[in-house]
């Protein structure tokens, strides 16, 4: 899966590139508007991560270019401008999703996966992780072929973990993913714990291995080994 990252801030760019490569993506970068325009004209991408504030142009114009070219690439807008109007404009112009800086990389991963999944398979695909099979469109989870009944939040949590295999997920990231990013993580650590406990229990009852690891003082991780 090939991704174009349009981001002018070098430190953030390199960190994101590293994280995305760890996630198994092929990543190309553009540091400014001109470079980005060149690349989207020349190459095909599965998804473009688009920063709106670029030194030599507005990211929204790149979005317009992509749409004018009938590009198949998904577009995830990332911007420091958390002006809600930008979000609306971005989505109106055909962006698939919008992330406000600063964001959790794990959240970026989850959004990215969802976009690519929708674009590539029109939803008709499934995720396989060890003895788990998840059909996101039907919100169906199978363990060893057996259906697993989860609450909405448990399901969201599982999907979030599956979007970030092998990554340490902080409590903040999980809380904000489940309750919206305006929720203060400090308020919500106990409910994360409860939901995780329930999820683990249900998985174990169906004979799944315990691959959700607790990282003491940090968060949780879906262990790939």
């Amino acid at each position: 899966m090939k991704i174009l990252l349009v981001e002018d801030e070098p430190a953030l760019r390199s960190t994101l590139v590293e994280a995305l490569r760890q996630g198994g993506y092929v990543v190309e970068v553009a540091a400014d508007f001109r470079q980005a325009q060149e690349r989207i004209k020349l190459y095909r991408y599965d998804c473009v991560l688009l920063d709106l504030t670029l030194p030599d142009g507005n990211g929204l114009d790149l979005l317009r270019t992509l749409k004018a070219d009938n590009s198949l690439a998904g577009v995830l807008v990332i911007s420091a401008r958390d002006s809600l109007d930008d979000r609306v404009v971005g989505l109106d112009l055909g962006a698939d999703d919008y992330l406000v800086k600063p964001f959790h990389i794990s959240e970026l991963n989850a959004r990215l996966r969802a976009i690519i999944r929708r674009r590539r398979f029109q939803g008709q695909n499934h995720l396989i992780f060890r003895d788990l099979v998840v059909w996101p469109e039907q919100a169906e989870v199978l363990v060893h072929g057996e259906q697993l009944t989860l609450t909405r939040k448990e399901y969201d949590l599982l999907l979030y973990l599956l979007a970030n295999p092998g990554r340490v997920l902080t409590k903040e990231a999980i809380a904000e993913h489940l309750c919206g990013d305006s929720v203060d993580a400090a308020d919500s650590f106990d409910f994360i714990y409860t939901h995780l406990k329930n999820l683990r229990k249900k998985l174990q009852e169906k004979g799944a291995e315990n691959y959700i690891r607790t990282m003491y003082g940090v968060g949780y991780k879906l262990s790939a080994e």
Binding site: L12, V100, H104, I105, S106, T170, A186, F191
Partner: protein, 424 residues
């Protein structure tokens, strides 16, 4: 005390002093003039009498004893004052008298006294004082009337300026536009105020821009910090030191708090800047249900029951982001300041939204709950901006916002009335 009343007081004091002095001068002056005139008349009468005797005619018979008397015995000569009893009035009347000696041929000398009554002292005083009082009264009445007229007319520009100042709101980013006045002082005052307000507006504008820029510029380093910390947490080397990962996680949490704080401040400054002009019709009932669903894990974790009483309300034209923030902060506040096993009651009617929850009695002035960085508990991790955001959003849309505490059941209620004017 009003300026005019204070001025009037001095006018009255001055007038009273002038009145006393004036009365004295008038009295002395009148008295002197009367005396002088009477003396002249007496002198003329003497000449008349002397001429009559010189022509050989006898002395006239006195018509009134008080005015003319003769005596063969010597009397002291010249002008003098005396007091005679007026038999008809029964009062003593002051008289001026002139006594002279007359020598007639072949007869013994005779002393003649001519008298003329002077004005009675009390009558004179009465006349003087009453006329002065009349003048004083007219003067004071005139002053009062003049001042009333002046305050109504001359001071009108001042009153207008005052009224404009009272309703002046810096948030509207407009300097005062005070008109020039016919009165120089008021024109100067208005100019000074207009100047002051334009400086205020400029300073406020600067501050606003500064806040907005500062907020924007902080976002990028925060994003870098957060991303890199998250990447650091992924390092396998962290497993070697049990203390390292929690340390990083704390740092990560702190970064998150910082960016949350900064987002809240940014939101506040953008509301103040009026940057949320876009509005779409929103169904608050479904938004509330959505929010409640989103916050369900929080409620659950704290064992709080949620009572939603959502009457079908008309669509309201709001900015979607602000509406979301308003509902979120109201609900979150009710969850945060709750008691274990408590509840959150949300009641939406056509005109108002009320969110209530039981909670410990809060000391302090309720109006201060809406201040920025106001914390119920100083150790709380929340920066205390939630209610301030609620207040700003309400002010932005002209909604009424009130806080109420019912001691029965210790319930706190925050109420947003969408049409505060219509409800009275």
């Amino acid at each position: 005390m009003k300026l005019l009343a204070a001025t009037n007081r001095y006018y009255v004091l001055l007038s009273a002093g002038l009145f006393a002095v004036g009365s004295l001068v008038l009295y002395i002056g009148t008295d002197y003039a009367v005396r002088n005139e009477v003396g002249e008349q007496l002198h003329n009468h003497r000449l008349e009498v002397e001429a009559r005797v010189a022509s050989g005619r006898p002395l006239p018979e006195p018509l009134y004893r008080g005015q003319y008397s003769t005596s063969l015995r010597p009397r002291s000569l010249g002008f003098s004052d005396t007091v005679l009893l007026d038999p008809t009035e029964g009062s003593l009347v002051p008289h001026r008298q002139l006594t002279f000696r007359m020598v007639r041929p072949g007869q013994p000398p005779v002393w003649i006294t001519l008298r003329k009554s002077l004005v009675e002292v009390d009558e004179l005083l009465m006349a003087v004082v009453s006329s002065m009082l009349l003048v004083l009264g007219l003067l004071l009445g005139g002053v009062v009337w003049l001042h009333r007229y002046l305050s109504g007319r001359l001071w009108a520009p001042f009153q207008r300026t005052l009224a404009t100042l009272r309703t002046y709101d810096l948030q509207q980013h407009q300097p005062l536009a005070l008109p020039a006045s016919r009165i120089e002082e008021f024109t100067e005052l208005n100019q000074a105020l207009t100047h002051l307000s334009s400086r205020l507006v400029a300073d406020y504008e600067n501050l606003r821009e500064f806040t907005a820029n500062a907020a924007h510029e902080t976002q990028t380093p925060l994003a870098i910090m957060q991303a890199q910390l998250e990447q650091l947490l992924q390092l396998p080397a962290l497993a070697d030191d049990a203390a390292a990962a929690p340390l990083l996680a704390d740092l990560y949490g702190a970064t998150r708090r910082l960016s949350r704080l900064h987002q809240a401040l940014g939101l506040l400054s953008r509301i103040e800047n009026g940057q949320f002009t876009q509005a779409v019709p929103l169904d608050l009932a479904s938004l509330l249900a959505e929010k409640a669903e989103q916050l369900a894990p929080l409620l659950e974790a704290r064992g709080l029951a949620l009572h939603l009483d959502l009457a079908p309300a008309p669509l309201r034209r709001l900015h979607p982001g602000l509406a979301d923030s308003l509902l979120h902060n109201l609900l979150h506040n009710a969850i945060r300041h709750n008691v274990p096993g408590g509840d959150v009651a949300v009641r939406l009617t056509a005109t108002a939204l009320a969110v209530s929850n039981p909670g410990p009695v809060v000391s302090g002035d309720p109006s201060r709950f809406f201040e920025r960085f106001r914390k119920h508990n100083a150790a709380s991790e929340s920066p205390g901006l939630g209610l301030s955001i609620v207040q700003h959003i309400c002010a932005y849309y002209g909604f009424g916002l009130s806080y109420d505490f019912a001691p029965a059941g210790a319930r706190h209620t925050l109420r947003v009335s969408f049409e505060p004017g219509a409800e009275g």
